[in-house]
């Protein structure tokens, strides 16, 4: 088994905010089961803030801990603030990730971004920070080869 930080273990053993939101304002899905990781993020937005964030994750210990950490980091934040969360910030909050698992932290931030984009498109609004950044989705550091 990989050597995970205590923080990763805590979030893996007791992940926060797991679940789905039936009437979600935005949904973002990323990854694919072939590679071993898949995340779906659900957001509820009120007054431009992430009132609730939930997710479901198929993947390794790191993927689950990342989902939990991302949900903690952005819950209650404004959409603009939430969009500033980067994979390396997530990894740092988790007290580091094994090198070959770093791609998992990309997935978390990307799944959340997708959920916010989904919300923006549905509501026809423009959120600073959402469009001015290229989505690296297809060319992330995912080590998966199929």
């Amino acid at each position: 088994m990989p050597v995970y930080s205590e923080k990763v273990m805590q979030h893996f053993m007791n992940p926060h905010n797991v679940g789905e939101i039936a009437d979600a304002d935005g949904i973002g899905e990323i990854g694919n089961p072939v590679c071993g990781d898949m995340m779906t993020f659900y957001i509820k937005v009120k007054d431009n803030r992430l009132e609730d964030v939930k997710y479901k994750t198929f993947g390794c210990g790191a993927a689950i801990a990342v989902s939990s950490m991302v949900s903690d980091m952005v819950k209650g934040k404004t959409l603009e603030e939430a969009l500033t969360v980067t994979p390396s910030m997530v990894a740092k909050e988790l007290e580091g990730l094994p090198k070959n698992k770093f791609h998992c932290s990309n997935l978390g931030a990307q799944a959340l971004r997708k959920a916010i984009r989904n919300y923006a498109i549905k509501n026809k609004i423009d959120i600073p920070g959402l469009t001015d950044q290229e989505e690296p989705e297809e060319e992330d550091e995912h080590a998966c080869e199929t």
Binding site: M13, G36, F58
Partner: protein, 388 residues
């Protein structure tokens, strides 16, 4: 229940080794009485190993790992026969030590045919025969697979190979010491085995090569092991291997019937208690100590971590658990999808495991699986699709 990864030395094995770590430290090649003691011990171990597999002592060469034995067999035999031809046949589920040895041979101008397996992981002997060519010099098919425990039809393959045709090697690392093996009955020319698979020390292994079969050494050196495997012998490890072989031979019948009972309890329990689970490998044509599964909608590493928190050790062939993040080539070769192979779970029984241990796994594993499924988007999708 991850006994094939590491198991404790048997106390008897440790006891047998101790004198050679303490007072009897001689070099078997030395021509004095210290050397004599070591040499006698070495030859006794050779007989013990030969006896476990029904071979002759002179045909046993000590190595340092199953990997080394496989390298030595595949490369050593193919290279020794390169003047006859440069084609070899292996199966799609061989251990990396065979796979990658074949790849190295490819770079040296050999052609490699990889025969497929069926959904149980079994090689079709006729498929091998169909692929035999005039220039085929080696066939290497494992005796039993180390990930799913399937036992291959080695006898049938050997019977169908042309006389004076290719040499036939089998990687019996997973099976030796766990099921009865007789090299004459198998009809093979070379067999790899490793002591750590039957309670011998790590770093102790052997390659059996039938008399008359030519093999080139991997390393150049002196006269040890008939020049086929030079290098000063690790006498304590070899003595431990011999002792472990002697014990294994005596205990295989009792051990395997005990393992089979526990294994089948575990298999039946998992398949009954966990929905969307499947056994991997053949239901009966499998090693007594192997219970392997794919549990859908979840991923192996999370399973191992949660089981570990309950004090249960297992193994998985999921992509996430491998350092290379690649799904098990064995499961893929058996036609299991990438997605399903992520939920691979392997338990290997050991001498210390009891019926209580099996009951404990059957109590905890369903909880672990349920917990991971509750957070799996694949599972919720599946449930929604089922409903409607």
């Amino acid at each position: 229940m991850d006994n094939v990864a590491a198991a404790p030395l048997l106390p008897e094995v440790r006891e047998a080794m101790m004198p050679f770590l303490k007072e009897t430290f001689g070099n078997p090649q030395s021509l004095h009485s210290w050397g004599d003691g070591a040499r006698d011990a070495l030859e006794k171990a050779r007989e013990q190993v030969a006896s476990l597999i029904g071979g002759v002592a002179e045909e046993v060469f000590f190595t340092c790992s199953g990997t080394e034995s496989n390298n030595m067999a595949v490369k050593g035999i193919a290279r020794a026969r390169a003047d006859k031809g440069k084609h070899i046949i292996i199966s799609a589920i061989e251990h990396f030590s065979v796979m990658n040895s074949a790849r190295t041979l490819e770079k040296e101008g050999f052609e490699v045919t990889m025969v497929p397996v069926n959904s149980y992981g079994i090689v079709d002997p006729d498929e091998i025969v169909r692929n035999i060519r005039k220039d085929t010099v080696l066939v290497s098919i494992m005796h039993a697979n180390g990930e799913v425990g399937t036992i291959e039809p080695i006898v049938e393959i050997a019977k169908k190979l042309p006389k004076d045709g290719p040499a036939f090697h089998t990687d019996a690392v997973a099976s030796t010491g766990n099921i009865p093996i007789n090299v004459k009955e198998l009809g093979i020319h070379a067999l790899s085995l490793a002591g750590n698979q039957f309670y011998g020390p790590r770093g102790s292994a052997a390659l059996w090569v039938k008399r008359g079969v030519r093999i080139l050494p991997l390393m150049d050196g002196g006269i040890q092991e008939g020049g086929r495997r030079p290098g000063t012998e690790d006498v304590p490890a070899i003595v431990g291997l011999g002792k472990a072989a002697e014990i294994a031979k005596a205990e295989i019948p009792a051990k395997s019937s005990r393992f089979i009972r526990l294994r089948d309890l575990l298999i039946e329990g998992v398949l009954n208690k966990i929905e969307h689970s499947m056994l991997t490998g053949h239901p009966t044509q499998r090693l007594p100590n192997y219970a392997s599964f794919c549990l859908r909608f979840i991923e192996g590493e999370g399973m191992l971590m949660l089981l570990d928190s309950h004090g249960i050790a297992g193994a998985s062939g999921s992509a996430c658990t491998s350092r290379a993040l690649k799904a098990s080539h064995v499961l893929l070769a058996m036609g299991i999808s990438h997605e399903v192979s992520q939920g691979s779970m392997l338990f290997t029984l050991g001498l210390d495991n009891t019926e209580d241990d099996v009951a404990y796994v059957l109590e905890k594993l369903p909880q672990v699986v349920d917990r991971l499924r509750q957070m799996s988007p694949l599972y919720s999708k599946f449930i929604k699709e089922q409903k409607g």
